[in-house]
Amino acid sequence: MNVRRHASIGFAVIAGAVLVSACGSTSTVAPATSAPSSSSASASSSPTAMAVQTGNPAGPQTLSEAGSSLLYPYLQKLAPGINSAFANITLTPAAGGSGTGQSEALSGTIDMGGSDAYLSAAQVSANPGALNIPIAVSAQAVNYNLAGFPNLKLSGTVLAQIYQGTIKVWNDPAIAALNTGATLPATPIIPIRRSDSSGDTFIFTSFLSATNPTWSSGPSFGTTVSWPTVASELTAAGNPAMVDTLHSTPGGIAYVGISVEGAALVDGLGEAELENASGSYVQPDSTTITAAVTAGATNVPASLAASLIYETGAQAYPIVNFEYLIINPSKITSSDTALAIRTFIEWAISPTGGATADNLSAVQFVPLPSNVIPLVNTAVAQITG
């Protein structure tokens, strides 16, 4: 970590030197004042957006990112794009987990931390001014291994009871009541959960908390929770291991990030239709995820720490979340780095920049809703270095 910090400091020094020499040799580049004012506003995608100063930094800037393994493939797709749109910006994404992303971004080890979860109140009060900036929307599927039942209907409260061990078999009356007409087998249910710290656990337990009061007052939600002891329960580290374990476990049920959903379905596993707040049953796809985001976007606070779980609307899928970049502006000392970060985020959320249908559909993400963009712009404008 220290090595990386020193490396980035070293790089900033080099970049600074390049900047100075660039200013010395040519006069066409923006002056190296504390607030670089490049005129390019190519990335402002909404007419109501607050003007965010963006543009190609005067010298090369490498933006270091680490964190969420769910966000990582998406940022890898964006890395070549930002470099060809703004030649002086290089993005170096890395995985490592949402917690790593949060703590390294807050401490200033990296420029941006990827996270599936927003910062907790304790983290914000320990790091005043730290920002959660959503750049895309992700979702989570609930899969199970029960041959002959590809699309069972399930609800959050039933899932909570499964993970509490009070619903033990697939033909439990609570499940049968949701699936009238299906003759379910008496196969024991084997709940599979993430053993490692996980943004997927965060959104899944958020859903259980939103729908089941016992869960809400008990394990509640977080990247690691105090799971109730269930004798038959299995654990897996990482999304691919969740799919593997589910595949080898008849009667198993698991929550899987949308980006590995394809693998789960190829394996012939079932995908649950989940009951949403309006009482209808939906599976995750771009229509239902977008419906949830549109409903949830109406009450996003200025801090952008918003849950998109269990939104109302006939089409709204209930387990949806923002993918965040965590940024601590007080640790960003170079105005050129700040310019590069602002430019990258504005480009990343623009439909003509990084948020193209191709990039998003590759990881099954959906774009930010238009009414969140102004809030993002306001947050991005606070990164001044």
């Binding site: 490592g96 987990g97 949402s98 917690g99 790593t100 949060q102 703590s103 996270s115 979860a117 910062l119 907790s120 109140a121 304790a122 983290q123 914000v124 009060s125 320990a126 084997i190 053993s195 490692d196 710290s197 509640s220 939600f221 977080g222 990247t223 690691t224 929770v225 105090s226 799971w227 002891t229 004798a231 038959s232 329960e233 299995l234 654990t235 580290a237 291991a241 593997d244 374990t245 080898s248 476990t249 008849p250 009667g251």
Partner: protein, 354 residues
């Protein structure tokens, strides 16, 4: 290894000590060597002191928060970071509901490593004796190469194999048979996870991982048994079995204990393989097949969550688990050295029997 060499033969193996040279006679080369080796000798000691100090300093708030519940509570929980309330014990503030009881992990670590040790020692020693005494010389080379190759397999490969192949195989075919033994041996009773995740599977994989450590050391020792003693035994009319029992095993016994301790240390600290196989349940195993977690695997599993704790206490709890693991390794290591010292003497240990 130093330990083994010094104790096993009782004969110094290095060259005779050179008389100390006077300082003014040192050439520049001597001085360079003196400095380089001095620094090299300091690094391991400084490393251990540094790590221990850092762990202790980091763990102190978590120790104050937990007190003796570290050893009495089996419900470890890093706390609910998103709850507006906090838990405060002895003036230390942690996320709501945080409880750093480590009993589950202590039980998991000790039980998995001890089962592995109990299985690995006889297998290693028996295998080596077979190799050195009964197997034809032409086969000994290739077979012992295999043994050393086993040591070279990365632990994540062991973990992956245990998760995808070995565990499901045990769960489907071996554990059902074992549980029938429960009639005679009660500790084999009980139910198991369908894919074999749990204590016994983890212990069996750990056994495979520490066999090469114990076996390769034992093999070196067996090779050093004086030919005179073993051939003398045969000449006296002993059978090969008697020769092994009376000459070979007493000669290598202390070395075996030392290598078993090395293997135990490996099993105590093994992280990724155990993480993938043991099930990572937050409770002590309910039976020999039951899922549980160990100190090392929990640190690896929960550190990322701990890093996002705004109060910073969860990372200190991880340091406390690390300190527990370090203490456990030190205790086993020191106890082992004590045992070795007690039962070894400088006399050739031949003839005392097993």
């Amino acid at each position: 290894m130093i330990l083994v060499r010094r104790r096993a033969g009782g004969v110094p193996t290095g060259p005779a000590r050179v008389a100390r040279t006077r300082t003014h006679e040192l050439t520049p080369g001597d001085r360079v060597l003196q400095w380089v080796s001095g620094i090299a000798a300091t690094i391991p000691l400084a490393g251990i002191l540094f790590i221990t100090t850092i762990l202790v300093v980091w763990a102190i708030p978590a120790i104050i928060y937990s007190g003796f519940t570290v050893f009495t509570s089996d419900k470890f929980f890093i706390g609910n970071f998103y709850n507006p309330n906090f838990s405060s014990v002895n003036g230390v503030v942690a996320p709501y509901g945080a409880n750093y009881g480590a009993l589950t992990f202590i039980i998991g670590t000790l039980s998995s490593s001890l089962i592995a040790l109990v299985l690995a020692v006889p297998i290693s020693v028996g295998g080596v004796l077979m190799l050195s005494e009964w197997i034809p010389r032409q086969l000994e080379g290739p077979l012992s190469t295999f043994l050393e190759l086993l040591a070279g397999i990365p632990s994540v490969v062991f973990g992956f194999w245990g998760l995808t192949v070995f565990g499901p195989f045990l769960g489907a075919h071996v554990f059902p048979a074992l549980s029938h033994l429960g009639v005679v041996l009660p500790f084999f009773k009980g139910s198991w996870a369908y894919n074999g995740q749990g204590l016994l599977t983890a212990s069996l994989v750990l056994t495979l991982m520490i066999i090469p450590i114990i076996a390769s050391t034992t093999r070196q020792l067996v090779k050093r048994v004086p030919v005179l003693a073993s051939e003398g035994a045969l000449a006296l009319g002993m059978t090969k079995y008697e020769m092994v029992r009376v000459v070979t095993i007493p000669y290598v016994r202390t070395g075996i204990i030392a290598s078993a301790l090395l293997g135990w240390g490996r099993a105590l600290g093994e992280t990724i393989a155990v993480l993938l196989i043991i099930g990572m349940a937050n409770n002590p195993p309910v039976n020999i097949y039951g899922t549980t977690s160990t100190l090392a695997s929990t640190i690896a599993d929960e550190l990322d969550s701990a890093l996002s704790d705004g109060t910073g206490m969860a990372v200190r709890a991880m340091a406390m688990l690390g300190l527990l693991l370090l203490t456990m390794s030190l205790i086993t290591n020191l106890t082992g050295r004590l045992i070795v010292r007690r039962i070894s003497s400088d006399a050739l240990p031949v003839g005392r029997g097993v």
